[in-house]
Symmetry: C2
Subunit: 77 residues, 2 copies
């Protein structure tokens, strides 16, 4: 068994309303000076031994990430 | 400016319904053999230079992660 980590974030230029809300929350809590918060989704996927990066990318593009507004990166490949 | 990455996941033993749903979706798409999918949230936070790990942890525990059911880890500290 192998574990892949997938991090899905919004493409540059797409409004990250959740990140802006978190930033405002942190500022209101007194954490002044925070310049930006960017949010994303994180997945850990346990796949059978021997699956290559290509198959993981097919999963990401088929179901996990929205190709129009999101980008993803793989770790542990 | 420094950038911290925060990965927030459910504690072991907490039901990850979203991960189970994603796993079923991938199986239905023909990606057979996937054993588990675990989901989480991902944040990138740009903070002023000189903020230590302790201050980032205070943010995580104050607003970002739910201490009862979630755990977090920092990268880039």
């Amino acid at each position: 068994m192998a574990t892949f980590r997938v991090i899905i974030t919004l493409k540059p230029g797409i409004l990250d309303a959740q990140g802006q809300a978190i930033r405002r929350g942190l500022l209101a809590l007194g954490f002044e000076g925070i310049q930006e918060v960017r949010t994303g989704r994180y997945l850990e996927i346990d796949v059978p031994e021997g699956w290559g990066e290509e198959k993981i990318r097919a999963m990401c593009e088929g179901l996990l990430a929205h190709p129009l507004v999101e980008e993803y990166r793989l770790e542990g490949c």
